[in-house]
Amino acid sequence: MIDPLDASIKIAGSGIEAQSSRLRVVAENMANAQSTGKTPGSNPYRRKTITFENELDRTTGVSLVKVGRVGVDSSTFKTEHDPSNPAADAQGMVKLPNVNILFEMADLREANRSYEANLQVVKETRDLFSMTLDLLKSS
């Protein structure tokens, strides 16, 4: 059996890792918010999505979290009239990425908060561990 305190650190660690991946996806979406296609009428950058899933760690028996799948958002692209763009079609319309900066900001903040929460679990667990160990030292 694994020490529950060790287990909490491991679990929170997996949470931190998952949230970092989410942050990465948000960063990709934000950076590519204006990325149009290269050839006339081609598709621009498609927004990426991320899902998490529960994973049972066989050696310790605890439930960790891991990145399930990095998929794509299949919603429709916005179009804009910009004949000078290399990606403009015969009518001068350009397809823009289906990235909404507001959504991305919200997702970013949520990832940030979740990361902080997991960090706090690690901190508290470490404090409890050292407080318990101090029982041996002081007496």
Binding site: I9, S20, R126, F129, L136, K137
Partner: protein, 103 residues
């Protein structure tokens, strides 16, 4: 607490033989109250965790491991070293307590 006192005899008795059997330390499940064996295991565990911590720190500097992995490995090593030290200090002070005993 009283129950631990007879163990001291075991420690003193086995400490000579311990050196010979150190190499064949097995899991904690079949170590029946052998304090020396337990300590050996704790120290071995702490040492291997420290090695892992150092290796992870180096691969972190090389960009092969994430900051989080480095922190996790190093603090794991720190935790087990602290535990080993605390238990050792306690054992040494218990031993000193016995040497100071008036007969």
């Amino acid at each position: 607490m009283i129950g631990a006192i007879p163990l001291v005899g075991t420690i003193v008795g086995t400490s000579a033989a311990q050196a010979a059997t150190n190499a064949s330390v097995t899991t904690a499940t079949n170590a029946v109250g052998d304090f020396g064996q337990m300590m050996t295991q704790v120290v071995t565990d702490a040492m291997s965790k420290m090695r892992t911590g150092e290796a992870t720190a180096i691969s972190g500097l090389q960009g092969k491991a994430t900051v989080q992995q480095v922190v996790e490995a190093v603090s794991d090593a720190q935790g087990s070293l602290q535990t080993a030290l605390a238990v050792r200090d306690k054992a040494v002070s218990a031993y000193q307590e016995i040497t100071r005993m008036t007969i």
